[in-house]
Symmetry: C2
Subunit: 751 residues, 2 copies
């Protein structure tokens, strides 16, 4: 079986860059000064007994962040970023994540290091055993576990190219065993490049058996958290590997299989024995130190290089018998790990050879990897470019640098709290929903980013959500009904609700004839089915026929059908109804500034726009206030220019419409509006057969209970109501509506 | 209270043309020869105990067609037309509706006239009483009962203009009593214009007391079906009216209130006594003969004139005390009814006066009615233009004309059986759904024609339907999921179904790079979310990079995301799944003709296009086959021109794609496809969480049960699957899917 030749075939080459990635990353929680946290695992992070993404490792302070398995580098990093955002924002505000593999200074007394308070007794017992066996201090180190799987299509195509091995399972096992042996032999290169534990802090080593000089990687050296030296396991075959592991357990050198801390693990089943049935499905690389210069401890370049390295390990031939080959690798890796970070490695020549062969492979296989190859080749030549060297060179010392970096990442997590890192190009409501789902421990899957389509899962219960609030809990017809303003009004009126009188027209001519019928009242002309205030004209006192017709034309530009409708006096409020409850009531007021007697309107606008909640293009909960023609005209009508200085306390409006999208303010008044109106909102939404709706009521006096007909009017019901304006209002209390959506979908988890 | 002056006020004038209309129309069922039917009420018309639209009147052969109450002339006629279509197509194929008010020749023996076989015993008993009291023959006459209500807004506005009457109810009663008295006084004008019973047929009169000459209206004359002459009721006030009615019943002159056959009835409650609480809400005009020259017995001009006439009756003052006024009217109406249809009426002068005053009113009130006024004014002057005259003048005699007209309307009802008259501009699926709903006796309400939005009701159970199959029985998310091809495939693949391998791309550059991965197989490039075969390119054998890129560009023109996907070999079938059952399976084949060895392709196409099921722009179940550039190119590739003569039995394809919209044939194969594939379709739709879906499967051999992976592939699932192509296939059995939708919505009625 000539893998090298098989990889070069025309049908295989296009598949080589297919792979699946999954990352587990440990991080110590520290306070803002960089000292180990003394708090329990954050309660906001749901239940550790099933949380798929955020667990604790050995110690109560040691977070374990776990991504789902993905098909691309971008996705795995996106999930890892998102999980970081969630973990950070679920921790007490004075805590952050330590970015280094080596822990910060540890408590003087070992008993002050608290073992993770897990629910399952056997989990706690195992950790107690480890504490006795290895001491607690060594376990406080953190790292990346990198799960790597060649693309299934690639593996299957390779399998088809050969006849030696009869089953796909045996083929996969053979292939990954070769990769594992070569990995063990050549892994020193990763140690060299990505080793990032040059120094330890106070309390990590409690004995003198420790590196006396700065090194590349304490963690992956023999001074790291390793098995006893008498634990030996052969990688010659899966049989041998399995037998040796069993023997070590039988002899008591290991308490169980998982205590074997190999730099690479063969994965696929729950136990090694399962691999005989399933074949090895993927490998877990355990020798990657945290890259402290990246917020999530690893970056795309590293992953791409590791992928290329894995291909090389498949491609290149083993040059010695298995055990000898592995033993040689172990020896070299340890030696490289213990080299001074600023020194040229003793294995420079072999390193150059490896890069040259990777280069040759990339060319033969037409891989698009030149940039990443060149990048890390320069690190090989220049040790000062490695991660370990950067840490060693830190002027302020490693610990202070760790604290500074942690604070930087902490600030990044809080800079735009309405965003979810990794998914920030999605709609805000979907970002909030994903945040809440990650926090509560739902399994998430972003099925289509541009379509805002996600799935959420708890145990066997699967739900799909689009745009944050389109779910299985609403019917197909209810949103269609709400999308049609005529039908909505019709249905509400028949159910006994007060809606503005109005008529629908499909031709300008017919609408023009209605002039005499409307001219005597206040009325509004609007397109039948748009949702964003576009094409709407309000006439408060009998317009001329000419103005009337121009209003009609504006509306007809947006839709084939338009509505002329009674204009109701009062204030418009948005009631967000979900599951027969009003969970938020919002008042929207037009873009405005309040004077201080000193600043100009322009300055006041600039100041108000500093609010981190304001941005543009719906990427923030509030929009920047503009100073365009419309705003200037509006000011002019009030006798202002942008350079006028309003009196202290004087509110100056820059817009007539109250849309958030034109700089309006959102003000939560959920607790202030009279209950009688909430009841109306709930009943109206029920009459529309909807479960989730943002229904707009005109109310003359929200404090006075509803008593007679003129006391309210229903303007419209929205089938995809914005949620972020309630979650991040300009003023008033935040209403976490995305959590309400999750509550509706997963009552078994959240109620 | 000066109504005339009030009507002229600026705030009232725009409201004057508001009104609500409802029509009840009787029609005898006859055979194609025009003889009274001998069959029972059609079983296809559901249950007469609750059917809101199609009932039987006195006799088992006498249909009573009832429209819902509507706000416009167009709507009331649309419903009436639709109900006619449903009634006609639910009758045996050799039956039709008699278009004349006077019945066709009646059986010699009165016992051969069968009383309606109603379920409620008291209904049958009442009819037996009427048969004894008046004889069966007189009851066989048919007519229009026209329910008329002034617009509520108009009535309320008028009420606001006055102070005399304290409540809206008393105001309405006063107003309608005036209108009723004036109606009775001036109704002779309607008798003159719309009287359409000049002659009787064999067996209607069984005694010599009958008109000796042709007249205008037997039905509304004293020879019609009228109460005994000693039944007298005053219209001076509602009190008097109610007292007199009660007295007539008490004295046994009437069996009950409803036996009082007045030309106008005051309506609002179930009984006259209810009117004291509700006020009179509307009036029922009962003196309109069927207009046999219109398919539904009445037309828009008549209704508009009646509306104008009602306004005039409100506007004009009463000139004599009530009883005298009404008595005078009764006398004149009877006299006019019995005038010869070709003669000038004796009341020409009063008629001219009425038209002059209506003209004056129309001008003062700015009513847009000139056309209708002029039209009927000319009938007044020229008696030969009246309906009665037209019947009298029929060369073939009234009975033969009746049979001919009936056959004409019968043919119209069957000409396009896939349409529902009155709603033929709506989508075909909605027309079918409305047809079935009307047939089964569901209350229908077309909420928005252009949006295909209807409501259906049975007793207290209300459902909304859009586009014929969007209902409350599907969730909001399922159709959104099906709309996204990537997500659909993802979900199906995870659930273990076979879907074509594929990838989604959002940039031309990224897609271009995928060339090597796809070039070795058959594959298809398509836009992610369009549904009509647009933008799709199929590559069966490794295209050049250039062709590949041009395929990409075509797809990107339609969507921001495109899919490159494995092309599966086999035939594509559409499975229509509803409520976990496959109710139809369809094979679509490209536009084609089959040669006969004589005709040219052009002639064969013309011949095939004669099929009444073929039309254009989705207004028919099948589309016309085109002979455009694409078709000519396709012919050329096969060595044909449009003038070629294919051999007998030779099938020549004019298109590559099988879409019905480009002239393809739809072939029902529901009973032929192996059950195993139906099971897959059902389970796949369930995996998508959908209730109604048209799911497309590729099957290499539909007769061979599914056994291994290559045996099928799921192409896509459609969330608004066309239904008309299954209901009216080109070949094979019709599958009435709209009835399945109703079954799903109203199991209590239809299962």
């Amino acid at each position: 079986m000539n893998i090298k030749e098989m990889m070069g075939r025309e049908t295989i080459r296009p598949l080589l860059m297919q792979a699946r990635y999954g990352i587990e990353k440990e991080s110590q929680r520290v306070d803002l000064a960089g000292d180990l946290a003394r708090t329990d695992h954050p309660a906001a992070l749901g239940n550790r007994s099933f949380h798929p993404y955020i667990q604790t490792d050995f110690a109560e302070t040691q977070l374990e962040l776990i991504t789902p398995v993905t098909d691309s580098v971008e996705e795995v990093l996106a999930y890892l970023l998102a999980i970081h955002d969630v973990a950070q924002r679920s921790m007490p505000e004075n805590e952050m994540m330590w970015p280094l593999s080596m822990p910060p200074a540890l408590p003087e007394k070992e008993e002050d290091i608290e073992i993770a308070k897990l629910e399952r007794h056997e989990d706690v017992l195992y950790r107690r055993f480890l504490a006795r066996e290895y001491g607690k201090r060594k376990q406080m180190v953190s790292g990346i576990h990198f799960n790597f799987e060649f693309g299934l299509e690639l593996i299957e195509a390779l399998f088809q190219q050969q006849a030696e091995l009869p089953s796909l399972e045996s083929f996969k096992t053979e292939l990954y065993m070769k990769v594992a042996r070569n990995f063990l032999r050549y892994r020193w290169l990763l140690t060299y490049l990505f080793g990032a534990t040059p120094l330890s802090e106070e309390g990590y080593f409690d004995e003198e058996d420790r590196p006396q000089e700065p090194v590349r990687s304490i963690r992956t050296s023999r001074f790291g958290y390793v098995n006893r030296p008498d634990v030996k396991v052969s990688y010659a075959s899966l049989d041998r590997y399995s037998e040796d592991l069993a023997e070590n357990v039988a002899q008591g050198r290991l308490s169980e299989e998982k205590e074997f801390y190999a730099p690479i693990r063969m994965r696929g089943g729950k136990k090694v024995a399962d691999l005989f049935h399933t074949g090895i499905r993927y490998v877990e690389l355990r020798n990657i130190d945290l890259n402290p210069f990246d917020r999530v401890g690893i970056n795309a370049g590293e992953i791409q290089f590791i992928h290329l390295f894995m291909l090389y390990l498949m491609w290149t031939e083993e040059k010695k018998p298995a055990d000898e080959w592995v033993e040689e690798g172990n020896r070299i890796s340890d030696a490289v790990a213990l080299e001074h970070p600023m020194h040229q490695t003793a294995y420079l020549e072999e390193g150059r050879q490896l890069f040259a062969e990777m280069q040759q492979m990339a060319e033969e296989l037409e891989l698009d990897v030149q940039e990443v190859l060149d990048h890390y080749r320069s690190w090989l030549e220049k040790p000062e470019q490695t991660l370990a060297a950067h840490l060693f060179l830190a002027e302020e010392g490693q610990a202070v640098l760790g604290q500074k970096l942690a604070k930087k990442y902490y600030d990044e997590a809080y800079a735009k709290p309405y965003q979810l890192a990794g998914f920030s190009e999605m709609e805000l409501s979907t970002q909030s929903l994903l945040f809440d789902a990650l926090q509560e421990g739902l399994e998430i899957d972003v099925l289509d980013r541009s379509d805002q389509f996600v799935s959420l899962k708890h145990q066997d219960h699967l739900e799909y959500v689009k745009n944050g609030n389109m779910t299985s809990k609403d019917t197909y017809i209810a949103p269609l009904l709400m999308a049609n303003k005529t039908v909505t009004k019709d249905v509400l009126a028949r159910a006994g609700f007060r809606v503005p009188n109005g008529e629908t027209f499909t031709s300008l001519e017919a609408a023009r004839k209605a002039y005499p019928r409307f001219v005597q009242h206040s009325f509004v002309i609007k397109p039948k089915s748009t949702n964003y205030g576009i094409g709407i004209t309000i006439f408060k006192d009998g317009p001329s026929l000419e103005d009337f017709v121009s209003g009609l034309k504006i509306a007809f530009k947006e839709d084939e059908s338009i509505i002329i409708e009674e204009f109701m006096e009062g204030t418009e409020y948005r009631f967000f109804v979900i599951d027969h409850q009003v969970k938020a009531v919002l008042l929207r007021i037009p873009a405005n500034v309040v004077g201080d007697g000193e600043k100009t309107i322009k300055q006041l606008v600039e100041e108000k726009n500093q609010d981190p909640l304001r941005g543009s293009n719906h990427r923030s909960p509030l929009e920047l206030i503009q100073l365009g023609d419309l705003e200037k005209l509006m000011l002019k009508e009030q006798g202002f220019t942008i350079d006028s200085v309003p009196e202290s306390g004087q509110q100056v409006f820059l817009r007539e419409n109250s849309n958030i999208s034109t700089g309006g303010d959102s003000i939560d008044i959920t607790d202030e509006v009279d209950e009688s109106y909430k009841k109306i909102a709930i009943e109206a939404v029920a009459a529309l057969g909807a479960n989730i709706s943002g229904i707009d009521l005109i109310i003359p006096d929200k404090d006075k209970p509803f008593s007679e007909e003129g006391d309210y009017g229903i303007i419209e019901a929205n089938f995809n109501p914005a949620m972020h304006m309630h979650i991040y209002p300009y003023a008033g209390k935040s209403r976490r509506l995305t959590l309400e959506v999750l509550r509706l979908l997963f009552p078994e988890l959240l109620n």
